[in-house]
Symmetry: C2
Subunit: 103 residues, 2 copies
């Protein structure tokens, strides 16, 4: 459940969101996006939880792979439905992981 | 629920964790740590959700404020109890937020 990422540096995209009440295929699309993201070049892993706020952190090799995923045609459809129906508010933060440690 | 952070750059500490079955004061300590963190110099905000995996992202002005919070005496006690009782596995990633956008 915790992504097994390589040694830093690599990138983390922190996607924080507040959902609307609308379902309308949300879960299926969320699952599909995880599946599709994991097939992209440069994808390193993903972690996700929702409890009031939803937090999905996806890990990527570099900014170029993040940019390509953002522009993936099926992902663009999901982003449009997200803004139109599923999310009241979201924030995306692109960050460079400089250091990590674990227990 | 989504942290209102300033313009990048700033830092995100991504804390991903898997809990044990042990409660023993976990929720109280978690609440206390959020309260205490938010009083520290350089603290910018926090977001947290648990759903299988727990993800807590705290935002900080710089590496120095992250270092000081890690070494805060009450936080050290919490870290020790975390490793001894509450967490099976956790991973901490220190990352620099370079860009953000929201809807």
């Amino acid at each position: 459940m915790i992504a097994e990422t390589p040694q830093p540096p690599y990138y983390a995209v922190i996607f924080s969101s507040i959902r609307t009440e609308v379902d309308n295929g949300y879960s299926e699309m969320a699952d599909l996006m995880v599946e599709l993201a994991s097939e992209q070049d440069g994808f390193l892993g993903i972690e996700s939880a929702r409890e009031g706020v939803g937090i999905t952190v996806s890990y990527w090799k570099d900014l170029e792979s993040i940019r390509k995923w953002k522009q993936h045609s099926e992902h663009i459809v999901a982003q449009q439905k997200g803004r139109g129906e599923w999310y009241k508010h979201y924030k995306v933060r692109i960050s460079k992981v400089e250091r990590d440690y674990e227990f």
